[in-house]
């Protein structure tokens, strides 16, 4: 129904955006730094028409924002939010391959954080995965 009767309320609120970050995590406490992983690549003029990587990046950010909104609205346990969380875990896993070049013996951890000025609000932290 959203396709038939969309809200068209684009870019309405300018709140600080949630950011997905990943880090290497090890059993001995030697964790790596948090790294933001949803970042757009520099664009060329022809990407005015065709921009698959940009489309993917925006979709990834939409996923992060959906999970953030579900948690903020107290709906983190809904079926929809559980699926969204699983997709964010997939996103962290695929993005970490590029961002961290993680070794096979290391674990991975992700979190969603919102920064307003110097303040940092950790929205949720994922479990360490192998």
């Amino acid at each position: 129904m959203r396709l038939l009767f969309p809200s068209w309320a684009f870019f309405d609120e300018a709140a600080a955006p949630p950011t997905l970050e990943v880090r290497r995590a090890s059993d001995v406490g030697d964790d790596g730094p948090w790294t933001a992983v949803v970042r757009a690549m520099p664009r060329r003029w022809w990407q005015l028409l065709f921009n698959p990587e940009g489309t993917r990046t925006l979709a990834a950010q939409t996923l992060v924002e959906r999970l953030y909104l579900a948690i903020a609205n107290g709906e983190a346990e809904s079926d929809d939010a559980i699926t969204t969380r699983a997709l964010v875990e997939n996103l962290a896993e695929t993005a970490a391959v590029h961002a961290l070049r993680s070794g096979a013996d290391e674990g991975l951890q992700w979190r969603i954080v919102v920064r307003t000025g110097a303040a940092e609000h950790i929205v949720t932290v994922g479990e360490v995965s192998a």
């Binding site: 949803v38 921009n51 699926t83 997939n90």
Partner: protein
């Protein structure tokens, strides 16, 4: 502008938009580890339990075939038009939105869905002239509403008047806005107010063709700008496909 030439141009532009959408998803599904299927983010193993019987259409291989079909139908719609091709594209656009739970497509697919729905009705063989006109005017109304609604919600946000809203969007890494774009408060304030004025004045395009021509010129520049600066190429293509309907409406009112 006649209804025939309006539908002709909408067919061409909607065909290009649907072709780009299909090709983007086909490209992404073939990039290892960052793909939209197989081992990627929207992998079937995570989502298939939501799909029910649609899993036979939305699995990696079937979805690839569906996007290939969409690409072919998009070319045929652009070249020869017809309710059948518009209908097939309507269905694949809907299934694509289900496949990715609306995240890959969002507002741009909503607009393209409306355009394709209008085109399908407007080109049905048995449809009366009034039904054809109604279908095109519906698309024009949705296009106008899209600007008006977006403008009204911005006007209510103080951050759009101060430039803080634009600053926040410019800073979002996912948009990747180039660093040469000015970020001074005065410039952001001026652009923010200009965007609100443009969106809130959308209904003026219905007054007469001259007002419509002016609004359409600004709209195309606006969408091209957001595509280049924010990477919103799908919005540019989908909204452009609806613009002939607004031009037609301006000649009827």
């Amino acid at each position: 502008m006649t209804i025939v030439s309006c539908v002709l141009w909408m067919n061409r532009l909607a065909g290009v938009a649907a072709l780009v959408n299909a090709c983007e998803l086909l490209v992404l599904s073939r990039v290892q580890s960052r793909s939209l299927t197989d081992n990627g983010v929207w992998r079937a193993s995570t989502l298939s339990r939501e799909w029910g019987l649609l899993r036979y259409l939305l699995g990696p291989r079937a979805f690839g075939t569906m996007m290939f079909t969409q690409a072919i139908c998009a070319v045929l719609l652009a070249v020869s038009g017809g309710a059948l091709y518009a209908g097939v594209l309507l269905a694949t656009t809907l299934l694509s939105a289900v496949r990715f739970r609306g995240t890959v497509n969002g507002g741009s697919d909503a607009m393209l869905f409306n355009v394709l729905g209008g085109l399908m009705v407007a080109q049905m063989g048995a449809a009366a002239e009034s039904v054809r006109e109604g279908a095109v005017l519906y698309v024009a109304a949705q296009l106008t509403l899209s600007y008006l609604r977006a403008g009204i919600v911005k006007v209510r946000q103080p951050s759009w008047w101060t430039g803080d809203a634009l600053r926040a969007f410019l800073a979002l890494p996912a948009y990747g806005v180039p660093m040469w774009v000015p970020r001074e408060s005065a410039a952001l304030r001026a652009v923010g107010i200009a965007v609100m004025a443009f969106e809130c004045l959308a209904a003026v395009a219905w007054v007469n063709p001259i007002a419509a021509a002016g609004f359409i010129a600004v709209a195309i520049a606006f969408h091209a700008g957001t595509a280049l600066l924010f990477g919103l190429n799908r919005f540019f293509l989908a909204w452009t496909a609806a613009i002939p309907a607004l031009w037609y409406a301006a000649h009827q009112v």
